[in-house]
């Protein structure tokens, strides 16, 4: 889905020069699209197939959470390996600050992976999973997306990303540190 998004946008912008803000937004929308497809493979599939009960008995909550976080993290790496080159190929950003872009990708990825893992764990046992997941994940992801797009735009302009990076790192670390602690408290309910 993420690849289709990048290719479609690249095709749609053929012959046009997209500004840096739009390019940054498209990059994060493509990554978010790709990651949202993985949510069903996280905690939801464990609950639906009944293997979550086995995990509750046989594994500590922190190791279950770490496993799911690593799964989402690996998927983010794979998606990035496909989307970032395609984005560069089709949308041709100008004078990019490679260090800035790398740092934004890292901090944004940390926040995205932590937020999706936590929200996926919360909604896995509710009655209306799909709708609730969107309702829970959207406001949690919104600040992260705003900062990631703002910082990536600055990186595409070749300027310092320090301001957005501070905020994004703070948010990402808060999600990453707080998620497992909270998860431990409700996983065995």
């Amino acid at each position: 889905m993420a690849v289709v998004t990048v290719v479609a946008l690249g095709f749609a912008s053929l012959g046009q020069n997209l500004n840096e803000g739009l390019q940054a937004g498209l990059l994060w929308v493509a990554l978010l699209f790709g990651m949202s497809g993985a949510l069903a493979r996280g905690f939801l599939v464990e609950e639906e197939t009944g293997t979550a009960d086995l995990l509750r008995v046989g594994a500590t909550p922190s190791s279950v959470y770490a496993g799911k976080w690593l799964f989402h993290g690996s998927l983010f790496l794979v998606l990035s390996a496909i989307i970032l080159p395609l984005h560069a190929l089709f949308l041709k950003p100008g004078s990019v600050s490679a260090l800035g872009l790398g740092l934004m990708w890292l901090a944004g990825g940390l926040s995205l992976v932590s937020a999706l893992t936590f929200c996926g764990a919360l909604v896995a046992r509710t009655a209306v999973k799909g709708a609730l997941l969107a309702a829970l994940a959207f406001p949690v992801l919104l600040p992260m997306m705003l900062m990631a797009v703002s910082g990536t735009k600055t990186a595409f302009e070749g300027e310092s990303v320090w301001g957005a990076l501070q905020g994004l790192c703070g948010y990402g670390l808060m999600l990453t540190a707080g998620g497992p602690w909270i998860f431990e408290r409700f996983w065995r309910e």
Partner: protein, 255 residues
């Protein structure tokens, strides 16, 4: 106590409206000088909604530690009050923005952060509504409430002050904390508003928490009654099983 507190708060709120419209002068430096009076309703609501959300997070954290359902009821009550105050903040802010800045919504960093906060807590109430089992509802929503409370200081204090974002804000900076930020009328009015809004929020929280705690007590009582009732049914069945043979024997004798 609740009733007298509500009377005091009600009378105080009428006094606050009178203070804002009949005692405080219009602010000279504003595009729309009269619109500055809204500060009495906007600023205390904005600050107290943060306090309510943090209190909600603290009760949720206490629930996760102690597993007392009353803490979950208190957390939900504090979050409901916080949500109401956030709606008042957003609405009064939009009225002021329309008058002063020419547009009700301009994606100012503070407008954006309170909107995100509203969405986060709307999701909290959606999560509470989607879980039917009271134990699960309490645990899951407490988990989310702690998480939501963690985002509050970040969204309200950190995000709007980030160097990359702060410059685009239309909100005045450090008005409350500097000596020449407000004149005597506005300072006095604002402090009174803080006290009244604090009392109003506390009264609302207390009422809602009492209802929540009452619901928990009724549920616990019902569970205990059901468990006891099940025992009684079992005992009755056993007695009737034992009681039947002599009755049959008696019937034979009589036959």
């Amino acid at each position: 106590m609740n009733k007298s507190l509500l009377w005091v708060v009600g009378a105080g709120m009428i006094g606050l409206v009178a203070l804002a419209f009949f005692w405080m002068p219009p602010a000279g430096d504003f595009v729309s000088p009269d619109s500055a009076r809204i500060i009495l309703f906007h600023v205390p609501a904005a600050i107290l909604c943060v306090v309510a959300f943090l209190a909600g997070g603290w009760f949720a954290w206490r629930f996760l530690k102690r597993r007392d359902p009353m803490d979950d009821a208190r957390s939900a009550a504090a979050n409901e009050v916080g949500f109401l105050l956030a709606i008042i903040t957003t609405t009064t802010g939009m009225v002021f923005a329309q008058q002063q800045w020419g547009a009700a919504w301009s994606w100012d960093p503070r407008q954006t952060s309170i909107l995100i906060q509203l969405l986060i807590y709307a999701a909290y109430f959606a999560l509470r509504g989607s879980l039917e089992d009271p134990r699960q509802r309490a645990s899951f929503s407490a988990g989310y409430a702690v998480f939501a409370a963690l985002t509050v200081p970040f969204l309200i204090f950190v995000l709007p002050r980030l160097p990359a974002i702060a410059n685009s804000s239309l909100h005045p900076k450090d008005t409350l904390w500097t000596r020449d930020g407000l004149d005597g009328y506005y300072r006095a009015g604002l402090y009174s508003a803080f006290v009244l809004y604090g009392m109003l929020s506390f009264a609302l929280y207390r009422m809602r928490a009492q209802i929540g705690c009452l619901e928990v007590s009724i549920r616990e009582l019902a569970d205990r009654f059901n468990a006891h009732h099940r025992d009684r049914v079992g005992w009755n069945l056993v007695v009737s099983d034992e009681a039947e043979p002599p009755a049959e024997g008696a019937a034979e004798k009589s036959g």
